[in-house]
């Protein structure tokens, strides 16, 4: 379990992480979601004791990272896939790290096998593709068979097969009772892999909840309608307190349940052609929530571009 309390990190006058508090439970995959530049990597570095928080604390199973007796056996992390000496072989890279925590040499071969790099173990990591580097980073995280695993953007650079592999790996690690915390700026990845979510924007906590609740409580439930005398129905719905939005795709009604819409249509003698409840995807919810907190928002209208 990871407990972050009031984590704050300033770089000069720029506040990268702002009073961030959240818990990461064991036994489930927790996603760490936020746009690029929202402070995800800084937070992960603070969990690992690499960056010193300006204020606040973060504990791993109740202990400060610096006080862990065998850090790699308790916490495994993929921070940056390419953060390896390019001239060293994958095997020697892992072996050097294994030695720091008295991890036996057999384990190096084992994790190379798990991530599918046994065949290229002797090759210099500078010649690795991004996908292979990601696999090496995951091998590094698994080296100490730790109970807590942190992955920063683990699917970056992976092919579809690799992405599927990572998803299943994260889930199976969580099923073994481990604490899994992985970051991504891809909302779709979260809905596929994570059970719980920590969402941040501009370093601030936006949500700390389950993926299901996150969508349910934040998504605006709308109903797509079409009718014979559509304009007349819209007027009646507005009078009943609904918000009506007309787009190219159709007419969406918010603030009324489908049953109520049906009753209003019946009262007006209007025949409905369509009455479809719409559930926002995680992606839409996320965009909605972070649009105001995104550090780098394009001022150009997205529709005007490609």
């Amino acid at each position: 379990m990871i407990e972050a309390r009031h984590l704050t990190k300033n770089y000069g006058s720029n506040r990268a992480v702002d009073d961030l508090s959240f818990d990461v439970q064991s036994g489930v995959v927790t996603g760490f979601l936020g746009p690029n530049g929202s402070g995800k990597s800084t937070t992960l570095r603070m969990i690992l004791g690499l960056d010193h928080p300006s204020s606040g604390t973060v504990l791993i199973d109740g202990a400060n990272y610096h006080d862990l007796r065998w850090p790699l056996r308790e916490v495994g992390a993929l921070i940056e896939a390419k953060a390896v000496h390019p001239g060293r072989s994958a095997r020697m890279h892992l072996w050097a790290l294994a030695q720091t925590n008295s991890i036996p040499k057999d384990r190096v071969e084992e994790v190379l096998e798990i991530v599918g790099l046994s065949g290229v173990a002797k090759r210099k990591v500078g010649k690795f593709s991004l996908g292979m580097s990601q696999r090496l980073g995951i091998a590094t995280a698994l080296l100490g068979d730790p109970g807590v695993l942190l992955f920063d953007e683990p699917i970056n650079g992976l092919d579809p097969e690799g992405i599927l592999w990572v998803r299943n790996l994260l889930k199976s690690l969580a099923d073994e009772g481990r604490t899994i915390f992985f970051s991504s700026h891809l909302m779709s990845e979260m809905s596929q892999t994570a059970t719980n979510l920590v969402v941040i924007g501009r370093g601030r906590l936006i949500a700390d909840t389950s993926v299901e609740d996150f969508i349910a409580s934040n998504a605006e439930q709308t109903v797509r309608i079409d009718a014979v005398r559509l304009e007349e129905l819209i007027t009646a719905l507005k009078q009943a307190g609904a918000t009506v939005r007309t787009t190219d795709e159709g007419v969406d009604v918010a603030g009324l349940e489908p049953v109520q819409i049906g009753e209003i249509a019946l009262a007006g003698g209007i025949a409905l052609r369509e009455l479809t409840p719409q559930t926002a995807s995680l992606e839409e919810v996320f965009m909605e929530l972070t649009s105001e907190s995104s550090e780098y928002t394009s001022t150009q209208d997205a529709e005007g571009g490609a």
Binding site: L50, W70, P71, V75, I79, H85, S102
Partner: protein, 292 residues
């Protein structure tokens, strides 16, 4: 996955990190390139300089003869090799900063003091073993070349007056007082240079930056200092690292190439060690405070 066996020992610390750093050192090609280069430079100059000096002894002026040192003459390659050793030392740390792999290192051992200490111990230990072997090999090879090119074996130390009057380049035995110590000084100097450069690497965190500063400090500043009034220059020159190296490998206390009298060997070694303590201390202070 099969569960890991419990580790031996109380917690991850210096001993584990030393093993790791040694693995890192031997698993990159630059280490072996440096070793090969050091062998070629040290032994090459141990042939070249003694040959030239012994051969041309008759034509040497009194001033040049005063500047002749029977051990130092075999250790030119060792002193020239300081740049190679400095690059080696810098490359032992700065790529971890530039690649970001220092984060992996520190995630595995968060106690930064132990990381720096392990690097210093592994670098210092490996450099000492290799450079001492090369220092002594250079002496014996250089001595054989001196004799082959007209040098004359002498027993005991000659005074500088005797050295000026000598008809042949004097060749010392290793048993002569001060000789073994001066040869040992060659390897010791390079070891301290390695720690000096390691400290600069921890401070600057950049490969080109650290190497540029090292070159400036050892090769450029001594020349620039000559522009200062002679009294000031002569006071500073002997305390520059390269002149400390000359002092540590000399039997005689000679003048330096840029003026000023060389220090005695042990005070020179002590001052060089003090530089290393200051640089590594500052490096540790910054390393502990900075974000990785």
């Amino acid at each position: 996955m099969s569960p890991l066996t419990a580790p031996k020992g109380r917690r991850a610390g210096l001993r584990q990190q030393i093993a790791s750093e040694f693995t890192k050192m031997r698993s990159v090609r630059s280490t072996w390139v440096v070793l090969g280069t050091m062998i070629v430079i040290s032994l090459g100059f141990a042939v070249l300089f003694p040959a030239i000096i012994a051969n041309g002894w008759h034509d040497r002026s009194a001033a040049e003869r005063v500047n002749f040192d029977p051990v130092s003459v075999t250790q030119f390659g060792i002193i020239f090799g300081q740049l190679v050793i400095a690059v080696f030392a810098v490359l032992f740390i700065t790529p971890e900063f530039s690649s970001g792999s220092i984060r992996g290192t520190l995630a595995a051992l968060p106690r930064r003091r132990n990381v720096l200490a392990a690097k210093a111990i592994v670098l210092g230990g490996a450099t000492l073993v290799v450079t001492e072997i090369l220092s002594f090999a250079s002496f014996f090879l250089g001595r054989a070349i001196l004799l082959a090119f007209g040098g004359q074996a002498v027993t005991g130390q000659l005074t500088l007056a005797e050295q000026i009057k000598a008809t042949h380049a004097p060749v010392y035995a290793i048993t002569t007082s001060g000789v073994a110590q001066a040869i040992f000084g060659g390897g010791l100097y390079l070891t301290l240079i390695a720690l000096f450069a390691l400290g600069m690497g921890f401070i600057l965190r950049s490969t080109p930056g650290s190497i540029a500063l090292f070159v400036a400090l050892l090769l450029i500043i001594p020349g620039v200092l000559q522009a200062l009034p002679r009294s000031i220059s002569n006071a500073i020159q002997p305390k520059m690292p390269s002149n400390l190296g000359a002092a540590m490998t000399s039997v005689h206390q000679r003048t330096t190439d840029f003026g000023g009298q060389l220090l005695a060997p042990w005070p020179a070694a002590a001052l060089m060690a003090a530089y290393c303590v200051v640089l590594l201390g500052l490096g540790l202070w910054l390393f502990s405070r900075r974000d990785a």
